[in-house]
Symmetry: C2
Subunit: 319 residues, 2 copies
């Protein structure tokens, strides 16, 4: 089973239509940047996961839409604040909020977006309490992942275990939450809710490590763009953490080199990763993590097919 491009378009349109209704009016310095962000593009993967999960588990009406939109706003809130913290100047090819307005507006915009996400969730007609608790937990996890990410920037002794905890919090929980809210909107049993949440979390972990691989080894011109800035900011990736473990001095040398000559440093790093089997190791972890994610879906029987198709959609992207 695959998910047709037409079906994906329909879902995206429903989500996009609702997104512009969330905060149409309000003080200029909030309404303008909020709607700038919410109409600024993005693949809408997280709300699509919410909608597909709800549909797989038996909800064909609008019940999951508010929850899906809440997750998308939550995701965008983290981007607005992350962009300030990382001083990133563009996002989806457009100036970031703090670049177009200023840092104060970006902080306030993020805050109001998070609150609007909650308001949107509270519009759901089902399971509002359980959804709100899941939402709070997921949002806190993202903050904790971001805090660990920041802490790791000043450390060179991060273990793979610590790195995994960080990406699980920063990336995995949000996809887990997206799936969980879909299941809650469909009124599913707790065991199913737990399974789809773990599916989303594992998919998020696989996605992140695969992203690291694509950044370094993809031929596409669209990848590699952010890896440079990540490396220069001493951000840890799975590949770097794993390589530091087996060839510390050479890897540190390559990272130093990259600060003066990014291309040269990345070439040395690529060679080191291949020679030490880190590329193969990471590819193995991605494969294994996807298998674990799909295992979680067995509890759904035949209804798992659209979620399997969604995981392929996410992981087969080339950029």
């Amino acid at each position: 089973m695959t998910i047709s491009p037409e079906y994906l378009s329909t879902l995206r349109e429903r989500i996009d239509r609702r997104l512009v209704e969330v905060y149409p009016h309000g003080p200029r310095l909030l309404a303008e940047p909020i709607n700038y962000v919410l109409t600024g593009g993005g693949k809408r993967l997280r709300p699509i996961l919410t909608m597909i999960t709800a549909e797989a588990l038996g909800t064909r009406d609008d019940r999951a839409l508010h929850a899906a939109v809440a997750v998308e706003i939550l995701h965008n809130f983290t981007l607005v604040h992350d962009d300030v913290m990382d001083q990133d100047r563009t996002r989806h090819g457009q100036p970031t909020v703090h670049t177009r307005w200023d840092e104060g507006v970006a902080i306030l915009t993020g805050d109001a977006m998070f609150i609007n996400a909650l308001g949107e969730l509270q519009r759901s007609s089902v399971a509002v309490t359980a959804m709100s608790q899941a939402f709070t937990k997921g949002a806190l996890a993202v903050c904790e992942g971001q805090a660990l990410d920041k802490e790791f920037e000043s450390r060179s002794d991060v273990s793979l275990e610590e790195y995994r905890t960080m990406i699980d919090l920063k990336t995995g929980y949000m996809l887990g939450l997206a799936a969980e809210l879909g299941a809650l909107a469909a009124g599913s049993e707790p065991a199913q809710v737990d399974s789809v949440r773990r599916f989303g979390q594992l998919l998020g972990r696989a996605f992140q490590i695969q992203d690291d691989l694509l950044e370094l080894f993809s031929d596409s011109g669209t990848m590699g763009k952010s890896l440079g800035s990540d490396l220069l900011a001493d951000k840890k990736t799975y590949l770097v953490v794993a390589a530091l473990d087996v060839a510390r001095e050479e890897v540190q040398g390559a990272l130093e080199l990259a600060k003066g000559d990014l291309e040269a440093g990345m070439d040395v790093l690529r060679d080191l990763l291949q020679q030490n089997g880190i590329q193969a190791q990471a590819e193995g972890v991605v494969k294994d993590t996807i298998a674990q994610a799909l295992d979680e879906l067995n509890i759904l029987g035949e209804r798992k097919q659209s979620l399997v198709a969604f995981s392929q959609l996410v992981l087969n992207r080339k950029n």
Copy 2:
């Protein structure tokens, strides 16, 4: 009736004890600044209002404590982010979070505090849905008030009506929310919930205008400290807005003067406010607003006494 200092101390201790339990563990870059803020002082007026309201309306157990603590965390979240936006370096005599750590940590700390406030609210054993909706509404109002405050900095044509909307959102809603949550914790009727919310909002409005008056006309050495920085940042206060309305050029002259010589500018401003009757006008508005606030309490009959006493406590402060 007055509220005894002993009773206030007891309430503060219960609130402070719970505040340190909210986020004891977590990533270092979150747990440390969060607990730094939550143990850093403050009068705890908002959570005390929640507790006193709940008690006045019949709840003598711990039901209101989680809601009270949630309001205090919400208040402190706004301070952490406001301090970044306004580049304020100290708060309660201690370095602000972005000064002691950095801006990224302060943004993330505020985000995580807001989420923890929600988590705390969700621990309430009563009326969680109604409380969460009130909380979301109140938090959005604070953001909107802050956005208007920022917008007004670049405008010299702000009307008293617009100014009142701004302080109602920025200051009034939070006190209104504090009282509302107390009433919801006590399981009160909607009419009573609405009344205590409006009481809190009006009390907040009176408090803010009185604060502006104290800043300019109090003899106390502890006041006046923040007015200077507010004036220099072109922040609007009730007095300045009202004065601009009747003596635009003179007031703008005084504000210009203050940028070079703060004391001299404030002296001219004081004279202008007295000559034009603005001081007396503002004092009248405070009195009238307090009367309106107290009127809202009539629906409570004799149970209103502790809230009347609370309003005196808030308004009789000299600093």
